[in-house]
């Protein structure tokens, strides 16, 4: 008996990172409260979200126990499976709301693009690890090609939000792997120069979203409605907010997609600038802790993957808050720990698990 409790404690906590836990617990609490408010008038989803989070935490705990070296072995297979599934989606996927994102396996539907959010940076990190100390320009070029396949397939679905997240995660790996600055500058210039050519490739609704960003009033009851209503919600929240369950924009149902992509509007209407500031501070702490883990990581693979995951957290939060507050075009990116949705949450916790794995296995090594 005397040895049972310590052993149990070790089993549970051995690979969990306490600072990270201390940051995500308040984030989850705030997320639950906001989902509760956002779905208060319809069927309440707070409990469902709690279940999602619990599943996520178990996944995180499990992933954290896997040594980064073992993770690395899964990198390429996961990536290849993901790309094959994406190709299948392209041909035989299920259409929901005009986008072909789902793959029906008869009994269950899966969204392979979600897998690629992690598998892509993992595969790229594995690739650079393979050529550690001898990375040449051609390796960067090949890495870009490896990134292009999932990016293009997801963008084609169309799921611009996820493709941006996957693309960004891959670019971060390449950046941390040491892509020379002159290429970075060159790519940026090329991207700006190419934008007129990308424009015709975008879907009609995507073009519309960008135009609306410039002037939401061109379509006040159509696509501009989202942005107008969410900025009103945020702006009317003021310094201290209207209070929990008191947001008129939220509860008179002016904010669309309240519990998913636009949950930040609900949150900042009810908690004001103070709340939004605290939320951003929490994200900043999360990112800071993850960067610390990354910088101390013991292998190149761990450093690259850790860096990419950390910056992915940032991208997710930044793109979401940016679009809801009207500085970025509307793309479907959920707000980490806040937006309702099981799949995205599990992916998120899986990423956290990887961070914890990197941290805790390094510590054990030292011991």
């Amino acid at each position: 008996m005397s040895s049972f409790l310590p052993r149990l404690r070790r089993l549970v906590f051995e690979h969990l990172d306490l600072p990270l836990l201390l940051i995500i617990v308040p984030l989850m609490a705030v997320g639950l409260l906001t989902v509760y408010s956002a779905t208060y008038d319809a069927n309440n989803r707070a409990f469902g979200q709690l279940v999602n989070m619990s599943v996520g935490i178990v996944v995180m705990w499990g992933v954290a126990r896997v040594h980064p070296q073992h993770l690395m072995r899964f990198a390429l297979p996961l990536y290849l499976v993901g790309v094959v599934l994406l190709t299948l989606v392209f041909f035989v996927g299920v259409r929901v709301n005009g986008a072909q994102r789902w793959l029906s396996l008869g009994f269950i539907r899966c969204q392979p693009s979600e897998l690629l959010k992690i598998a892509t940076p993992m595969a790229l990190a594995w690739y650079f690890q393979k050529y550690e100390t001898a990375i040449k320009i051609r390796h960067y070029a090949l890495a870009f090609l490896m990134l292009l396949a999932p990016f293009a397939l997801i963008a084609k679905q169309p799921d611009l939000g996820t493709s941006i997240l996957v693309g960004a995660a891959g670019v971060y790996v390449i950046f941390f792997a040491g892509l020379p600055w002159k290429f970075i500058a060159g790519t940026l210039v090329a991207a700006v120069a190419a934008s007129p050519f990308v424009w015709p490739l975008l879907h009609e609704f995507q073009r519309k979203r960008i135009l609306i960003l410039l002037d939401p009033t061109i379509d006040p009851f159509g696509a501009g409605y989202h942005i107008i209503q969410s900025t009103i919600a945020i702006g009317s929240g003021g310094g201290f907010g209207k209070g929990w369950l008191q947001g008129t924009q939220t509860h008179l149902e002016f904010i669309p997609e309240r519990h998913t992509d636009f949950i930040f509007a609900v949150f900042s209407e009810e908690y004001g600038f103070l709340g939004a500031g605290v939320l951003i501070l929490l994200y900043l702490l999360l990112i800071a802790r993850c960067l610390m883990i990354t910088i101390n990581a013991s292998t190149l693979f761990a450093r690259l993957l850790g860096g990419a995951i950390t910056l992915s957290f940032f991208t997710c939060a930044f793109v979401n808050i940016g679009m809801v507050s009207g500085v970025l075009p509307v793309v479907g990116v959920p707000l980490p720990f806040m937006s309702y949705g099981g799949t995205a949450l599990v992916t998120l916790f899986c990423s956290l698990g990887i961070m914890m794995s990197i941290q805790t296995h390094r510590m054990l090594l030292k011991k």
Binding site: G239, L291, S325
Partner: protein
Amino acid sequence: MRQFIAQRLLSRRLTNIQNAEIDRFRFRVKCATAFVLLGFALLLSRLVYLQIARNDYYSTRAEDNRISLIPILPSRGTILDRNGEVLARNYSAFTLEITPALVENLEETIAELEKLVEIQPKDKRRFQRLVNEGRPFDSQPIRIRLTDEEIALFTVNRYRFHGVEVKARLFRHYPFGATASHVLGYLNRVNKADLEMIDEKEQSANYKGTSHIGKTGIEKAYEFHLHGETGYEEVEIDANGHPVRRLSSTPPVAGNDLTLTLDIRLQEVAEKAFGKRRGALVAIDPSTGEVLAFVSMPTFDLNLFDDGISQENWDRLNNSPDRPMINRVLNATYPPGSTFKPFMALAGLESGKRTPEYSFHDTGSFTIAGHTFRDQKKDGHGHVDLYKSIVQSCDTYYYILANEMGIDSIVRFMGRIGFGQRTGIDVEGESEGLLPSPEWKRRRFRRYELQRWFTGDTVSIGIGQGYNAYTPIQIAQAVAVLANDGALYRPRLVKDISDNRAGVKKSVAPELVRTMGWQQKNIDTVKRAMAGVNREGTAARAFLNAEYTSGGKTGTAQTFSLRGGDYRASRLREELRDHALYIAFAPEDKPRIALAVLVENSGFGGQSAAPLARKVLDHFFSARADAPTAAPAVVSETRAARRGL
């Protein structure tokens, strides 16, 4: 030793490169940190702008945010029969509705309302159920079909009732009540599965505000035709969310009207002929596949569903031992009994195993592999040829024929006619039936000794007994194929669709599934024998003095299976009785109607099923003989024109 030094040097060089890489990595992390800080600073400055600097402006906008889009429901398409009789229509009625979220004490409010309008316990129960299912801001009806006096009374007292309103709602009404209930189907509240289906079909926007959806029959199969397009009203609302002033509106577009192939008068005659008996009847126009009558008995009153069926009625319908909710035409499967014989005869002729002239001496039984199969007639029918085998329904003839043909060629022939396959009729949920084969038996049973296919299995199928089981629509379709000389048209229920948006009426073209390629002389031989059945055979009494020529075949099915029902347990004794079957076409040459009748547990087909078919055919031909309107004349004209071609 030198090797060791070389290795040390190499590893030191590698470590140096690694250290350089780590240094570069650290620098890049610093850059990333700057990137993150910059990003968050941008967001914070945007939030400062929105929430601090322009807070007044946005607060005012939020206050003024009183424009709301309210869906206006389209009126659902009407359903007509082939002669233009209205089978399903809408009527609007005033309802008294309560929005639970806006009422402080529901019970008190209802008690107060009761003093003004009559509210029955069943109204309260329904309201409670709707409240439990719905969302707090949905308004739910506490009373429907208010009288003018009640509306006036409530309106005067309206100030006392916050959150209570009189609303006009559309209700579905079926003028023929319980007639053709399985064809038409009913509406009920949109549930979770419906929502998913709507979402998948990308109709979510169009179904905002739609509370009821087709659940069975035509109402379900043609839901997206019938529904129409939801309109929108842009209204100014007050702080409580109540509309105050209309700003603009997009009118809804009514759903498409459907004209069915069904002849409701014929349907009525058929349903009446069943009386209290259970069973099914399908009548098809063989040259087009148009279903003229589609009877599943007992039926249920569709108008029970118009405002949400009460729990008692729902339970009563579902727990009745007669199982009225089962669509027997599509979902009950029965062995065809002797009605299978004409098809077996045709198979024999087509395969060359039999000629019309071939005859043998029937002694009343057939023995194979140590098992004796007996004829219904103990001493046998004497000399029997094909004509006599059908007219007198001789079993032995078909025991021997089936045995000679073998199961594989029987399955091939019957499968092409559509036995054991879904017909593809335009309503959902059809059962497949079962055309048994050795392969099926292997899959169906686990134990080896049950998996084996016996010669006896084949022999039983020769007279339509044994494992085989078909839906009445399949049997009717088979009769239609025979009547139509081997051209199989897909059975269907919808004749025209009037598109209310485009303002055009589109006819649904007959769909030729396949032609069998049978020899005409073989078809004629079988048809002649079936005409003999009605003239001098097992259905002669039922068709005495008929004013038209016809062909038919009686049948008796010894067992039955009603898949998915516990029907068996509840009515064991009556169930032991045989099912009566009868198939027919008329007139004898160029048939205009083909039908299949099944009466559950009522014995011999010639006694109970054939007279029922007689009534239906009598009506069919008399109604056309003295047709007062031009419509049937036009129909026969087009039919004649089609023949001419």
